[in-house]
């Protein structure tokens, strides 16, 4: 198994923008989607982010993530449509349950916010390799130890995931029941997980020694092997991102 990743390779201008500018944009517009008092503004942010994703050629990925959120969205409509305190105007009845207009509108706003979160953060994660984002943060003063912890997941995870199938087969062949009632399946949990975790921890010990002999905990500055450069006008674009957030807060505070 490869490390999980949402990165979509490409050369669009969204791809070429530097990681921190995109991070500022992603988190600002995701948050702004929650703060603006009018759902049409959230919808506008969503359209804007979807446009950026379209330019980056990542719309299909985005659609898959939005589809994956269908259960969450369904719970919004059922829960709020049935029980939101502002409910007054009955819209329709299903299985003897009355859905109200006001609650369904609330659910619609929540769904827009969720989709905007996915699209906004998508602008970052679909177009940046996690390694590059961590490098950019390291250049801004993130501790190299935290940077290592974040990046090395990409190496540890595939090894561990690959052994899941092996251990599942091995334990089955030793007679561990993995199918049947809930109790049987719960009891299978430990024989699956224990060998995995033990070997992963032993590997972590080895890695700690390997890091140590390479001067991992030595104090002092570090050099970056492949520096990530800021895009032209990065400061301006970051200001635009934060401007959206500030505008949302002001609108909410003064007008909403």
């Amino acid at each position: 198994m490869r490390a999980p990743s949402l990165y979509v390779p490409g050369r669009s201008f969204v791809h070429r923008a530097d990681p921190l500018t995109k991070a500022a944009w992603a988190f600002s517009t995701a948050l702004a989607g929650f703060i603006v008092p009018d759902w049409r503004a959230t919808a506008a942010l969503l359209v804007l982010n979807l446009t950026l994703l379209g330019l980056a050629g990542a719309l299909r990925r985005t659609a898959r993530l939005i589809l994956a959120s269908a259960v969450l969205v369904a719970t919004f409509f059922v829960a709020q449509g049935l029980s939101h305190p502002s409910n007054a105007e009955p819209l329709f009845r299903v299985f003897g349950l009355t859905f109200y207009r006001e609650g369904l509108l609330v659910a619609w706003v929540l769904a827009l916010r969720l989709w905007n979160t996915i699209a906004a953060i998508g602008v970052l994660v679909f177009t940046v390799r996690p390694q590059d984002l961590v490098t950019a943060l390291l250049m801004r003063g993130l501790s190299p130890r935290a940077g290592y912890a974040l990046v090395s997941i990409i190496q540890v995870l595939p090894t561990l995931s690959a052994s899941v199938a092996t251990i599942l087969d091995a334990q089955r062949s030793r007679g561990v029941e993995t199918e049947g009632g809930l109790r049987v399946r719960l009891r299978a949990l430990l024989p699956m997980l224990a060998p995995l975790i033990m070997s992963a921890l032993a590997a972590a010990q080895d890695r700690a020694v390997a890091l140590e002999v390479r001067g991992f905990s030595r104090p002092g500055p570090r050099t970056i092997l492949r520096p990530v450069r800021d895009m032209a006008g990065a400061a301006f674009w970051r200001a635009v991102g934060l401007g959206v957030l500030v505008a949302a807060v002001l609108w909410r505070a003064l007008g909403g």
Binding site: F34, V71, L82, V125, I153, L160, L193, I197
Partner: protein
Amino acid sequence: METRSIWSLRLTTFMIALIPVAVAVNYVGKAIAAALKLPLWLDSIGTVLAAMLGGPVVGALSGAINNIFYGLTADPVSFWYAITSIFIGLAAGYFAYTGWVQSTGRAIALGLVVALVSAVVSTPINVILWQGTTGNAWGDALFTALRIHEVPVWLASFLDEFVVDLPDKVITVFVAYLVFRGLPQRLVAQAGARRVQGGR
């Protein structure tokens, strides 16, 4: 070895190497829960185990890095819930270091505490972001029923989260405890954790 404060921020290299393993174990726990068709998430076994081994700071770091990594590679909504993961790591680490992983009974009690912490921290996030629902069908059915009977949103949302967290976190902590108990003494000592001898 000198004794360290459990809130010490000076992490050994092994503790740092423990964090990616914790995140990977969280991933794999989730995958195994799905493979065994268990109605649980089991996505914080690694965080809890790292907290038992390395204390609250390592637990909290594992929790935060877990959600950042998950947000970057699988599900953007996960970023908002980094706070819950941090508190799960803090709580598990603090209580583990004050002696709550010495017997089966205490491990189950620790599971209850972690479930409570997780639900208490998640509730404001669920209320602020989604007006109280969690996306779990059983919990949200309860939420809706309670809201129709005019139970306040905070209480309904807390119960929504808690009914799911209770079995999930108790089993998570219990599995982590069983693994922790079976670890070689050398490894436990290297991580700086204390474990009562002869617990087996």
